[in-house]
Symmetry: C2
Subunit: 183 residues, 2 copies
């Protein structure tokens, strides 16, 4: 890009929720004038692909209020303040699936939506996961069910639309295609 000449005149938090704040930025460009831009301020996100020794992926059926339906996803969530992404990923895996592993590797990161969000979503793979307990169902608002899916079936499940969550798909794409040489 030749120019990054937007300057911020004023920023204000116009609405707060427990997972993001809605920010309004009033910005000016020497050739493009003044405009308002709306941005979701959110912590970084993580997701993690738990792989069993027999190459099964531990996934979560979860009711999602955006689409008012359930999705098939890998475990994931928000990075807590001061937390390393890899620590957040392991925590979410244990909480959501009951599986754990100490063999966790970052496989890629994306901007979920750079137009309206500044955060990253980091993706990890956890190898040789083992069941260590029950999923934590203490978050009363979450409704989940753990399932295992052969890794060999994932490609077809994405192609046919059985898996639709963009960030679950970018995670699998790093694992199986873009960074597959690493594994």
């Amino acid at each position: 890009m030749k120019s990054r000449k937007w300057t911020t005149i004023e920023s204000s938090r116009v609405y707060s929720t427990r997972i993001f704040d809605l920010m309004r930025h009033h910005r000016e460009h020497p050739h493009r004038g003044k405009h308002h831009f709306f941005v979701l301020s959110a912590p970084n996100w993580v997701n993690i692909i738990p792989l069993t020794p027999s190459q099964e992926v531990v996934m979560v059926h979860q009711f999602r209020h955006g689409i008012e339906d359930s999705t098939l996803e890998v475990p994931g969530g928000m990075v807590d303040p001061g937390e390393e992404p890899i620590v957040a990923a392991r925590r979410e895996m244990i909480e959501e699936s009951g599986f754990d592993s100490d063999d966790i590797v970052e496989i890629g990161k994306v901007h979920p939506n750079p137009a309206i969000q500044g955060n990253y979503c980091f993706s990890f793979v956890a190898r040789n996961v083992r069941l260590i307990g029950k999923p934590d169902q203490s978050d009363g608002a979450e409704e989940t069910e753990v399932v295992t899916v052969p890794l060999a079936d994932i490609r077809k499940m994405i192609a046919t639309g059985e898996i639709t969550h963009a960030l679950t798909i970018t995670g699998f794409s790093f694992l199986q295609f873009y960074n597959s040489a690493l594994f």
Copy 2:
């Protein structure tokens, strides 16, 4: 999923922007009680991979206010009311890149973020694109630059983090991996 028992007690639009409305849904579950859920109400989105006869991808460097930096993306945007996604994709390609083609095929669709959005992003490939004019720079708030990139380089550019936009990556993943057998 065994149960989808959330009922909506009340919904209200708590903030409106030109690209989404922020909705607050008050919902109740027989076993999980009452909770507020926040959802971005937005139209469906599209993106499109314009391929030249020599297998170059026409891409757009664009300043993005969410990350306050520029990204390298394929053309895309919002589907207008009553518009077919394929028509929106072609319109966005012409507007943002100046290239056109009548050989356009859908390659996949994703939920950009099913937790907080209900919409889909549809991905298309346009083959044998040709330059028909200049990009439309009439939207004063957008700052873009068109570049061409060999399709053969895309995989490495995603692996190395040169391309970070999750929805551009899901589009390329459908083209090069999940639905590559179609092309």
